[in-house]
Subunit: 358 residues, 5 copies
């Protein structure tokens, strides 16, 4: 097995297969589903060569390669299904931007699937590449997650559209699952956003700020994937490659609408998060100001009182002259001083209250 080279290595030869994904990804597994209106067969292979006969069969064939670690197998599959070397390179480049390439005899689509863990707040990304040829679909899953089981179930139902329509409908079904997974992710993130919002109002903390920042970054990530996905689906719907049949277009229009809705939701969340940041900043600043104001008012009230105590703490001798702090010699001198202090404190409190300072 070749050594993995970094995508950014200068001077690599374009079209040479280089895998840049996570090396701990699952072992490569090949599943071939061969079906038509009447029958369905599922095979699991380890040798890519076993797929070759299915390429030109009259039935619809779905070849799923899950796990891209074994780049020789991927290259072999590419060779069997007649893919351009640059396409094989793109399949292995799991950081690739979602895109649609149209060739004379096949379409190539690559895009991202997301899942979101609400506990860890981790947004996991998986690249899915897909080739639609005459009567066959080849899919390349980066991590081989258990995503396609629902499609298998629908394929097993002989009444399903999947069986009646061609390979292009299978592509539609895969894209549909993908867009639905975006809805799922956004729903979970929406819960997180609501949770953050309620905490901003009830007990804002610095961590809230970091959370807002993190969700914002996830929105940037999602947005980067959804924009090109929208273009891909729009492209499929518009540029009728003969591989896309007329009857599938209405279904593609439907996913297109959903993609727009995903986009809208992402943009709305971004707007809401920006608003929340403002709200957080103001709430924190208001809270801080309130604390400071009350403390300052408290301190301010004691300032003249302490001055008075200082005054009567001076050592001028009342015996020398009647002008020297005569209060010290009064019978009610101390109560008088206390009364003045109380009057000053109460007066200030009333004044501050009237000015609505607290």
């Amino acid at each position: 097995m070749e050594k993995f080279k970094k995508r950014s290595k200068k001077g690599y030869v374009p079209g040479a297969p280089i895998y840049v994904g996570d090396t701990k990804a699952q072992k490569t597994k090949i599943t071939v589903t061969d079906y038509n209106k009447d029958s369905i067969e599922i095979h699991e292979f380890t040798n890519p060569e076993d797929c070759r006969p299915f390429k030109s069969s009259a039935t619809n064939t779905w070849v799923n390669i899950s796990g891209l670690l074994d780049i020789d197998s991927v290259a072999k599959i590419g060779e069997i299904f007649g893919l351009h070397p640059l396409i094989v390179e793109d399949i292995l480049d799991t950081e690739h931007r979602p895109k649609l390439d149209i060739f004379d005899d096949y379409l190539f689509i690559t895009f991202k699937l997301y899942s979101y863990n609400k506990e860890t707040r981790a947004l996991t990304e998986e690249q899915l590449s897909l080739v639609l040829g005459e009567n066959h679909v080849v899919t390349f899953q980066e991590k081989g997650s258990d995503l396609f089981s629902s499609i298998h179930k629908r394929l097993e139902n002989p009444q399903s559209n999947m069986r009646k329509f061609g390979a292009d409908y299978l592509v539609h079904a895969l894209l549909d699952i993908t867009v639905d997974s975006y809805f799922e992710v956004l729903e979970k993130i929406g819960d997180v956003v609501e949770d953050i919002e309620s905490r901003i109002i009830n007990k804002p903390s610095v961590d809230t700020l970091k959370e807002i920042h993190e969700v914002k970054r996830e929105m940037i990530r999602l947005r980067k994937s959804i924009w090109p996905l929208r273009e891909i689906i729009s492209g499929l719907h518009r540029r009728i490659s003969p591989l896309i049949q007329e009857q599938t277009l209405v279904y593609l229009k439907d996913i297109y609408d959903h993609t727009i809705q995903v986009m809208d939701t992402v943009e709305t969340y971004r707007d809401i998060l920006s608003g929340m940041l403002d709200l957080y900043m103001s709430t924190m600043s208001n809270k801080m100001n309130d604390v400071m104001k009350i403390l300052t008012i408290f301190a301010t009230i004691f300032i003249p009182l302490t001055f008075i105590t200082g005054l009567y703490g001076m050592n001028f001798n009342p015996k020398i002259s009647p002008f020297n702090m005569p209060e010290l010699g009064w019978y009610f001198g101390y109560p008088f001083a206390l009364a003045i202090m109380a009057a000053v404190a109460i007066g200030m409190l009333i004044l501050f209250k009237r000015k609505k300072w607290f």
Copy 2:
């Protein structure tokens, strides 16, 4: 009745009817209004099958389904009027983005109606879906609010345009009511905005901030609905489907102008709210600063006074040497100390006043 599935459930089969709205919505009610220039008949049905004869009648027919809880009935209506399963799915998906779908024999439009309660500041949303076919209109109301009574009144007037024009004019009337409801909502929100603004200037508080934040979010929500509505009406006006008659176009242009005006108003409110946020922040900050400044100046004036009292509170013994606080032995020592304090305080007040610090 089927169990409701969440919209984001992965692997649902596209085109299967799933209702995602509020389950407490009203019971489904079917109202059929059959009219032409000369006569008008209104029927209330519970069985969708009763609508079937009206589909191909020569008169104009308006079928209104209010309340989408009974998804079997909705599916049945869909089947009777020949709707694509994806359309029935969209009708039941009450979170759907407003859109226009053009089919050979019918148009499908879905959009949102809003109402605003100024007391509770609640913006309520209701989805309205609408199918325009040859000589008939089918409307699906999510909550069955009493919105269409004015249209019924106009229909009962034999001189009204409604009676003279075709089914497409009815669609125009429905869209017109919708856009007018936006004006109503914006007018009420405008009052709220003005109210908030006057409070910012007179007595800003943290609640004002939350209110601005809430109105901003409602603007985001409205905007999300109005943008696609504008596209829908522009689409109706432009792409002359044979179902839209020439004479209706000028009326559609009129609603289009109103939609633009609604958009403009929403954008203006957003601009104004942003400006208000700035104004609020500055006003609060200025107020806080004023309080702090006055308190600080107050404290600052007492600092040297307290220092002086401390000075004459020191226990240096004037008896030991003539240099040890001779003032304590003066005849006018205490008045002298008080005079110095008064001079310092007044001097500082004058200084601060000159520097325009208060």
Copy 3:
């Protein structure tokens, strides 16, 4: 006379004339100016019917309706000049967005005129609607301000282009006056902006902030009117309706250039106002910080001094032991304490000065 209904009343019949403007506006007055190269006649009517003969006269006719209170008269004029009911509705809707509607036999334009009072800083708006038909122009002024006297003067001059050119040139002249009034308004607002700016630098106050906020809002209002006006004039210049003659196009291009310049100025003012807001905030914050810093430094210098006075105010008895505040017994004890205080104060002043804290 009908009762006025609010624009946002749900369920009003489209095309029914409803006046939404200020009810205290002037009484409706009809002025008919009939002119050609050789002669000019001016009539004042109160009965709209009197205008009818002028519609199909070979001479150019300008019918000006000033004051829209009497909606029956407006509706009558609309009927005489063959206007669509929706157009009559738009004429009376004085809150309408500026727009251009093109019909087979006439053009309809509605837009806003502004005037600005520098003393009260009030931006006054007046709607002007305008119909250009074959050989006639009908104008509807909301408030009947004395705007058109200069046009009348030019019309009375037989050498003027107004007399030589057709009715479309009159439309150009009206639009030209309008755009010029924008220049006038912007010039006045420009003076206000400069005045605010000089005050920000010299003596910023909270009122300055409110003024910036107000001028910003006026810019939002102006912008909302000028954008569609630009589209209108661009439309007139581009889509050569046969009602616009070839020779007028160069004049329309000229107004178009002016509109762009108005737009540019509005955008520039917005940019400048945003910059001023930043400048204001920073200036205020700097000022506040300077005050606080000086006060804090002042307080800080007294802190150790007051501590020293406290120290020598303690009641430890020097008689008990030679370690108990021996300074109190020194001959130069008091001057020594004063010297220490002076040294501390001067030392701190030097330190703060060196650190450039004031």
Copy 4:
């Protein structure tokens, strides 16, 4: 000579020549340069009539009018070269937005030249208008600055392209000088920007803020001129009026590239200035915070010390009971009190240091 009317005067007749520029501008001077491949002649005239014979000469003619005070002469020149009255008006309106007007027999271009004085930081603007006709170019300089001497030098060189190419190449040369002057201005402003930036880092002050604000405003001004200039040059390059020869296009493309680069630089400076504003605000705020923090820490350390001095300044009589401040009677009472104070002060310093508060 006519009285100057303000541009914004309502009701002026379009096409009437009104000069709105600086009235102290230089006297009008007419320079006629007549040249072809073989010869060159330069004339200075004061009477516009003297230019008339050059209009239809077979040689290339460049008529330069410098100083627009004498509007009669400008109007006369306009008449001689067959300019539309609106064009003459635009030439005299020195506040006009840059634009290109295409007529059948001539092109009209108006734009701004800038120069920047690094000492006074003054950005000076001069309007240049230009008419390209068959074999002649007429230029109108607002202030008659010594801008064109380099062009004269190149014209005097018989080997120069200027002599070999037609009048359109002269227009190119004038535009080229203009765009180069923008580079020069931006280079100088770039120096100012760098100077401001280095001062923000080394010793920020309120003046720095005002300087940033001023340079930002100059960027807004430049931008307002360069955007339309870009459109003009793009227009010249695209819409091949027969007055622009094929061989000149590559030169126009070259200036177009330079204009884009000027635009880029202006936008980059705006971005950089915004970043600098943020940096300034943060630096100032950090500096202020540092000062306040140190002062506050200093004050905080003295607070418990002063409390202790207050404690032992209380007048409880140790003679009454052994519980009444027995420390006052201790042999080492005073050193003990001092030791406690020192311990508190050092303890707090260590604590604050550990918390990394200074």
Copy 5:
């Protein structure tokens, strides 16, 4: 050798070769690589004239000029390969904006290469200009860095596409290396961004702010180069000049996708950096506020304590009257005063804790 003139010198003659780059750049070196399917020859020349025979050879020729100091040689090369004088000028103008010029018999492309030093955080720029003619490519390297060695290696491999395809594939290879160098730069900057981010959370300082500011400026610089590069590659891919062969288009589409990805990354970094700036500001402000709050609370607790010590420091004589500070005469007077102080302090601590002030 001519003296270098500044690019912004007014009045320079367009098309005259002026070098504006760094004068310390390497000596000009000419490398000619002549190859076809079967053979490859590499020559190093110093005299530009030696290249002339290769221009019209049937084999593919790559002429690389590295170092642009010797402008005579560059001009000579320009003359040999028939370049327009403006193109030679653009080659020498190393500050030129990236662009693509299409001529009948050659294409001219100029763009920037970047390298980034993570230690010094220096972003180094080098201009590369490139001429694609019939069977030959001429490249002009500003600084002659060792960039092309990997291309030479691939050329030496007779199995490589480089040898099989034409000169246009060589252009593709050069652009591919360039875009890869952007990836490398962005990867390094990405490390820096992550490093800054982790420091913001752990120990933010004023330097962090300056670093964010610097990386932001580098993003502005990169963006300025990548936008036009995207246009160039899009142009090559779209406008099929006959010099670009059909088979190269798929490779150009591939680089185009990479350029979009670079753009996306730059924009994402800009968004992230803006978010980081907000985070930094809030973190700093929170930290500062926390310090201030704790210090203020600490000071506030001592204020009433110090007041009490002041109180009992007053010199009212208990002997004169029983109302004069009787506590001074109590047996447990001092412990009583201490107890009150402790109670006040503890009470305040509890209160502040309950209000969650610390």
